[in-house]
């Protein structure tokens, strides 16, 4: 029970930090997003697809609640991304940095595509999608390290 609560708290904390950070112009007016990394981790670590989708959906709802996005937009996108990753988890070794990198990029890409469906496509939107995908890839290995550390010290979350 306690590890689950810890995991939920960590996820909410990640969303809160994400919403507190400013969008810097030198970073392309986008903010660091940690949720794609958490979703990727949960999807690759989950034993059942329902667990992967549930974690992703919860993280997405938390992000939706702290955004002007239509409620459920990111929840659906993250759930879909988690399902895709869970499907491929047999082929992927989550301990490899490049796998973590690609998993984060995939989740960020799917979430960005969902956002583009809502805000509309434009060259700026495509640029932002590219940039967020790249940032998702960069952040995810760090998230994996952090979550591994937490699991090591506070036990399994499954």
């Amino acid at each position: 029970m306690l590890p689950t609560i810890t995991a939920i708290f960590a996820m909410l904390l990640a969303v809160a930090i994400q919403s507190a950070l400013p969008a810097w112009s030198w970073l392309g007016n986008v903010r660091w997003e940690f949720i794609p990394g958490i979703v990727a981790y949960a999807a690759l670590a989950a034993k059942r697809p329902l667990a992967a989708v549930a974690w992703a959906g919860l993280a997405g709802l938390a992000q939706d609640a702290l955004s002007a996005a239509p409620f459920g937009c990111f929840a659906a996108a993250y759930a879909l991304a988690a399902l895709v990753l869970w499907w491929w988890r047999e082929l992927l070794d989550p301990d490899l940095p490049w796998v973590q990198l690609l998993a984060g990029a995939l989740v960020a890409l799917i979430a960005s595509l969902a956002a583009i469906v809502v805000v509309g496509a434009s060259w700026v939107a495509v640029g932002r999608l590219f940039w967020l995908t790249l940032m998702g890839a960069v952040v995810t290995p760090v998230i994996f390290l952090a979550v591994d550390f937490v699991r090591l010290h506070w036990g399994e979350t499954e």
Partner: protein, 262 residues
Amino acid sequence: MKHKDWVIISLLALGWIIFLGQPTGVSARLRDWTGRLTTPLVKLGQWIPTVQSRRTLAQTNAVLQVEINFLRERDRAVRETVRENRRLQQLLDLKRRVAFPTVTARVIGRDASSWWQSIQIDQGSEAGLAINMPVLNADGLIGKTVAVSKGQSRVLLLLDPACQVSAILEESREPGVVRGVAAVFTTKPQCRMLYVNRSTQVSPGQTVLTSGLGGVFPKGIRIGTVLSAELDAQSGMYQNLDIDPAVDFRRLEEVIVILSQP
């Protein structure tokens, strides 16, 4: 003592007697010259530290360090209070100027995604807020409420392309629509005024205000100033104006929400 020494001592004593017999002006001048030579040395002496034991110095240093930290923290708190006081004073002035009932709110968060430009404020339906209420601060228009819950609300910023405001140019009274511009890698957030008559003379620095049309934003709220104007590339029938927002959207802390319009 030798005879030679006696002679020298006698000469010195004689010289001293002669010196003492001089008028006051001469001795005063001599004193002045001597003083000029020695004063720098006296001043230099002030810089020579008093010798203390290392242990005493370390203890004093530690106490002073604590005191410095305390004073720095207090100084920071005082500065922050002064700044907050100034901002709240501006908001109070604004509340007095606005003819409608208003609610003051603090900004408690930004948008968690990079796709929307919004902020979260700490007042909600309990304070009388509802969807589509204008939000502003002393500098000008910030946006409108798009989601309201019991104790908090989300405000869509003027910078978001989904937030459209009916506007006029202050001098020419020429109407248009202001909306945010989605941009990557810009140093300053911008928005644009669209559908301005192509024959209107527009110059940089002109003020843009809300027009009051549309039913959401009251008339006369400052939106920003014109940066540049260009003919609409697609139709060629209108001018599009780049607007420098009056509000610094990166430093939003307190806002007021206009509850209703007559």
